[in-house]
């Protein structure tokens, strides 16, 4: 458990350091994910972290709660634009989901995959 967390935190730290150092437009944890992915392919023994990783990901939703509570206090920032922004988010999220899912399925079908 401690070993697994050390690996995850180590890759996050590596990701943060590279992202900051090179001024990349990616946050450290996302770069850390990419680096761990490459490391898993190079060193399959690292896959021992699977249980810890699955435990964390099973409750990924929980981790967004503190940020969500922060948002409630900021809702007045929307001001007069609240309704327009709500419509924009609802409409564009639905459209983006539909466009992405149909594109994925369409291309997969054309390629026979």
């Amino acid at each position: 458990m401690i070993q697994h967390l050390t690996i995850l935190l180590g890759f996050q730290l590596l990701g943060e350091a590279i992202s900051r150092g090179a001024g990349l437009p990616l946050p450290g944890p996302v770069l850390g994910m990419a680096l761990l992915f490459v490391a898993l392919m190079a060193v399959p023994r690292l896959a021992a972290i699977t249980t810890t990783a699955q435990g964390l990901l099973a409750h990924l939703s929980l981790l967004f709660v503190p940020a969500g509570v922060g948002v409630v206090g900021q809702l007045d920032r929307l001001g007069d634009d609240g309704l327009g922004l709500a419509l924009a988010i609802l409409g564009s999220t639905a459209l983006a989901i539909i466009a992405a899912v149909y594109t994925f399925i369409g291309v997969a079908r054309v390629l026979g995959r």
């Binding site: 409630v72 327009g84 409409g91 594109t103």
Partner: protein
């Protein structure tokens, strides 16, 4: 004899109370989600946030005080994001085969999210400053905030729009896919990750492990793509009619 108020004052100063209440509120949200037969509208994040907001208001507690406890939960977002590499690795064969469908869906999904959000908001009369903050709303929060800063929008507003987008996608995704009779969990998950980042990814993991893995890739790739193209696209989106 110690007064209840004294105990309250003691506990409300430290991180223990708010950390525990965050876990309890999420536990209640998750129990309600399961009791509903896992209906997407009964979103555990939304319920937990609502419960905690009411408690904070009733006890007159500031967000700063709350966050002293909740930061331990918030911190785990970093290692959890890194952990997304594991389902990527275990689904490697499937992901290799899906490379081109993912690339196409990424470009179409990311462009649709940005263009349609700004178009709808413009039609609804939202001003140009606010439009800039809306452009990166489908991207994971730290990247979206960076993009907004680069565009000259308001980072705090973007943070709000990002979270609302995530919760919206988590709620409407499953009903949309079911209505369209889409059963390919690669496509379902990937679309969720592209359109509604980490909160959509968390929802995808509740539905199916393959969907979760593809959502994680969608989130990561969209963070990269939007960071690269938003600065090029935004001036045209926000320009005068």
């Amino acid at each position: 004899m110690t007064d209840v108020t004294d105990i309250w004052i003691y506990l409300s100063q430290g991180p223990l109370l708010w950390l525990t209440l965050t876990l309890i509120a999420y536990g209640i949200g998750d129990a309600a989600f399961r009791a509903s037969g896992r209906k997407p509208i009964v979103n555990p994040v939304l319920l937990a946030v609502a419960i905690l907001s009411v408690v904070l208001t009733l006890t007159n507690t500031s967000y700063a005080t709350y966050f002293e406890g909740a930061q331990f939960v918030h911190f785990m977002l970093g290692p959890a994001t890194v952990a997304l590499a594991v389902p990527l690795y275990t689904n490697l064969a499937l992901i290799r085969r899906s490379f081109l469908p993912m690339l196409a869906a990424l470009i179409v999904g990311a462009a649709t999210a940005m263009v349609s959000a700004v178009a709808i908001a413009r039609l609804a009369g939202v001003g140009p400053d606010t439009l800039l903050s809306l452009v990166p709303k489908s991207v994971t929060a730290p990247v979206a905030i960076g993009i907004t800063e680069a565009l000259g929008g308001q980072p705090a507003l973007t943070a709000v729009l990002v979270i609302v987008t995530g919760v919206t996608g988590a709620i409407i995704g499953t009903p949309i896919f079911n209505a369209l009779r889409i059963t390919d969990y690669r496509a379902r998950g990937f679309a969720m990750g592209v359109a509604s980042h980490g909160i959509g990814t968390a929802r995808a993991f509740q539905v199916n492990e393959t969907a979760g893995a593809f959502a994680g890739i969608g989130m990561g790739l969209n963070a990269l793509l939007t960071a690269l193209i938003a600065p090029l696209l935004a001036p045209y989106l926000v320009a005068a009619y």
